[in-house]
């Protein structure tokens, strides 16, 4: 039992940044935009949050700044892709390369500074329940937000008219344009939202998961989030499941030594990446699923005819 609760806590903390980033990217992709810059937006969110919390001490400001950093990065992407009709794949790659570089630049004086981590919030009474209380009702604010976002995004996409329009734009931008919907505006909003969520995911990394700054501290989580969207076949509930599944893999990584498994640490560190490949292989081999669920105009440049 004394190993069990920390293990489950690890799942939650490892899953939360993935959950934020993957949810955001899913909404972006639902509108037909493939933003491969998640890693870059996340890492910018991480450094921005860390810098702000160190200068102001305010967690709220730090989280807000992380969101803003993600949104600004996404705005850069949107400018290129939506205004300049640049193709989405290289633009996303550029965003990642740029984000990694810029975060290293911004964070050059932040290396070695420690931060105690954002406080946990206990929900009165509920957090006193044994086991479940600690797990579910004694978490930091970002964990709560991430779970609320799951519900909100599910409701938005499936129960609201705005969500319907977003899905329609992702299904056929030409048809949506012909009906008079502003493809550009809707995609811009979806892209910015994805950026904000990636920024939040980054904030969780540098404020809660391991409250310090290391260059490239996202370590491929942005890319794993992209894979999670495919794994979840663009469904909100499955993103939640997928993110926590990957959180589960991280327990192995962190607790293997404690459990006395004699595997080199590097090999354990490979697990999330290998798992991502495995998950991609399994989901991708079912093309019917992908084709029915993937937004049909994903990644295609939209240029309204004349």
């Amino acid at each position: 039992m004394e190993l069990f609760i920390p293990a489950l806590l690890t799942i939650i903390t490892a899953a939360t940044p993935l959950l934020f980033a993957a949810l955001g990217e899913m909404v972006t992709e639902k509108s037909g935009i493939l933003n491969l810059g998640v890693e870059g937006m996340m890492v910018m969110g991480a450094i921005t949050g860390f810098v702000i919390v160190n200068y102001t001490g305010s967690v709220t400001l730090a989280i807000g700044a992380s969101i803003l950093a993600g949104v600004l990065m996404a705005a850069l992407f949107a400018l290129l892709v939506l205004t300049f009709h640049a193709s989405q794949v290289p633009t996303g790659l550029a965003l990642t390369i740029f984000g990694i570089g810029l975060s290293a630049l911004v964070g050059q004086n932040m290396i070695g500074i420690a931060y105690e981590g954002i406080p946990k919030i206990s929900i009165p009474y509920l957090s006193d329940i044994p086991v479940i209380g600690t797990l579910l009702f004694h978490q930091d604010i970002l964990v709560y937000i991430s779970l609320i976002m799951v519900a909100l995004i599910y409701l938005f996409l499936n129960k609201t008219r705005a969500g319907l329009i977003l899905r329609a734009v992702g299904d056929s931008h030409d048809a949506a344009h012909a009906m008079g919907y502003s493809v550009m505006r809707i995609r811009l909003m979806a892209t910015l939202f994805g950026g904000g969520m990636a920024g939040l995911g980054g904030a969780y990394l540098s404020l809660a998961y391991s409250p310090l700054w290391v260059e490239q501290m996202t370590a491929g989580r942005g890319w794993i989030a992209l894979a999670l969207v495919v794994f979840a076949s663009w469904r909100t509930g499955r993103i939640l499941f997928g993110a926590y599944l990957f959180g589960g893999i991280s327990i192995l990584q962190l607790h293997a030594q404690a459990l006395g498994i004699g595997v080199p640490s590097q090999v354990m560190s490979m697990l999330p990446y290998l798992a991502t490949i495995l998950v991609l292989v399994i989901t991708s081999s079912d093309q019917t699923q992908i084709r029915l669920n993937a937004p049909a105009s994903l990644g295609r440049t939209f240029q309204p005819s004349r």
């Binding site: 008219r161 319907l164 030409d174 048809a175 012909a178 009906m179 093309q287 084709r291 029915l292 049909a296």
Partner: protein, 512 residues
């Protein structure tokens, strides 16, 4: 600018220019309530541009619009819908992954909750004979059903003017009849209909008045009843339509291409699977396959061309040899060439020039590859030969394929295949969206190749074209191929039954 309040809509001096072309040059159009008004013209005459301005998709460079006597500016589709203008597009604006009711909801400006809307859909669809299940997903529906969604969506908005852009090109003749009954009924209820088409018999059957466009200009507005189809055709094309040559009896030789129990399972549920295809084409004959779009035409062409290869080698036989597992290049060497329906991106590479595009399918038969390297001198000569022989209008061979007009690109693609002297040629939609002159050239060239002893298979949605050009005719429906019958024994109605998947042998074929 006076406007007569009797008119529902009155357009004056509508002008719209695009880079390189004046699409509409001071066009006028007037429609009264309850009138079915035809907008008639060849491909490229400017019909689509005009209706897009009416529906607020395009902004006119100049011109005025009066609606119910009042001057209006229609700057968005929402404004058009607000006025009471509804439009059924030629290429449906539908979202495949959404349900019927979701699709319709997206096209409505008033906010209705989905269950109320579903009920309204059922009511309207029953009232006008347009059966539709609101909860089906669009990708499961046939083309005809998809068109019904568009029509029902329009009707739900209680429009005053319904614009229909080439609505019958995706329907069987029987479905066309049903549609006309619905449209007549709507007109009787006072709805004005602007009906865009280049099919003269349809216009004669349905419309009261017709405005004829040619090269972006209005040629005339006439009462349809006082005109003959040939007088309408003359106005549309500018000269007396050339009478097609008499079709000579084909000199039929041995079997060149054979499909035998060909099955092809679609990679996913949105595609069409080919089921037990039997087919034979002999040297010197033209075999036509009719069918409504999306019934497996593309899949059939890909299977015969080898883009999708068969599991067993015996299902396709070229000149007596089992060829089911050959790739397209090997089939090309064996004498089989093909022209797919989609020109840009399938038949040709949009951003490559004509020389490179000539190389695409010509390299092995024309010997354009020397010692593993592309011989550009030979390739350029080949491209020029195609351009000259088939009168492709282009500033040169170094322009990109996507800068050519549809008709010229089609002439180039068909020319590229014909110049390789294939023994078997499969062509899908040879004249789809092609202007009249180019269509004439293309049909002529196809007939000549058949006369020289090639086996010709033509897949087309244009029934008139198939009736004119083919010696034997059949139809494809839901991935199944009908029997084939000599064209001389067939009528449009009988082919229509085949297109709907009805076998002629079950009923009394003579009485049909």
């Amino acid at each position: 600018m006076n406007s007569n309040p009797d008119y529902l809509i009155e357009l004056q001096g509508m002008t719209k220019a695009f880079p390189g072309v004046l699409a509409n040059d001071s066009v006028d159009l007037r429609i009264e309530p309850g009138e079915v008004h035809a907008l008639l013209g060849e491909n490229g005459a400017g019909k689509s541009t005009l209706v897009k301005m009416i529906y607020g998709i395009l902004k006119p460079d100049s011109g005025t619009v009066h609606f119910q006597g009042k001057p209006v500016i229609i700057d968005t589709p929402a404004r058009a819908r607000d006025l009471g203008i509804a439009m059924v597009f030629q290429h449906f604006s539908l979202f495949d992954s959404l349900s019927v009711v979701e699709n319709i909801s997206l096209g409505m400006d008033r906010k209705v909750d989905l269950s109320t809307l579903a009920n309204e859909i059922i009511q309207v669809s029953e009232r006008y004979g347009l059966p539709l299940d609101p909860h089906r997903h669009v990708y499961t529906l046939s083309v005809g059903e998809r068109q019904r969604i568009e029509i029902v969506r329009c009707l739900l908005q209680n429009p005053k003017l319904l614009v229909m852009d080439e609505p019958t090109s995706v329907l069987t003749p029987q479905e066309v009849k049903k549609l006309f009954i619905t449209l007549n009924r709507l007109a009787e209820e006072g709805l004005a209909i602007l009906y865009i088409s280049h099919k003269l018999d349809e216009i004669k059957a349905l419309c009261h008045k017709a405005t004829i466009l040619r090269n972006g200009k209005r040629v005339a507005t006439v009462d349809v009843d006082t005109e003959s189809t040939s007088s309408l055709a003359t106005m549309m094309m500018g000269e007396e339509m050339k009478k097609n040559q008499e079709k000579r009896a084909a000199v039929v030789g041995e079997i060149r291409l054979q499909a035998h129990g060909l099955n092809m399972i679609a990679p996913d549920s949105t595609g069409i699977s080919l089921k037990d295809i039997h087919l034979e084409v002999r040297a010197g004959e033209v075999v036509g396959i009719a069918g409504v779009a999306g019934n497996g035409q593309d899949e059939l062409l890909k299977a015969l061309n080898g883009e999708d290869s068969c599991k067993n080698n015996e299902c396709i036989i070229i000149d007596g040899k089992h060829s089911g597992r050959l790739d397209p290049n090997a089939r090309r060497k064996a004498g089989l060439a093909s022209v797919p329906e989609k020109r840009l991106g399938h038949g040709a590479v949009p951003d490559m020039n004509l020389v490179d595009n000539a190389f695409m399918t010509g390299f092995s038969r024309m010997g354009l590859l020397v010692k593993g390297l592309i011989n550009y001198r030979k390739t350029r000569n080949f491209a020029h030969q195609v351009i000259d022989d088939f009168a492709v209008k282009t500033p040169g061979s170094n322009v990109q394929a996507d800068s050519l007009s549809g008709g010229n690109l089609q002439k180039f693609i068909i020319g590229r295949e014909l110049s390789q002297r294939p023994d078997i040629l499969i062509v899908s939609q040879p004249t789809w969206g092609v202007d009249a002159g180019a269509a004439q050239t293309i049909r002529q060239a196809l007939r000549e190749l058949a006369a020289q002893g090639a086996a010709m298979l033509i897949i087309s949605q244009d029934l008139d074209e198939l009736m004119e050009i083919s010696d034997r005719i059949g139809a494809i429906c839901g991935g199944r191929l009908s029997k084939f019958y000599p064209t001389a024994e067939m009528t449009v109605e009988k082919v229509g039954l085949l297109m709907a998947g009805v076998s002629l042998d079950e009923g009394d074929t003579n009485a049909a």
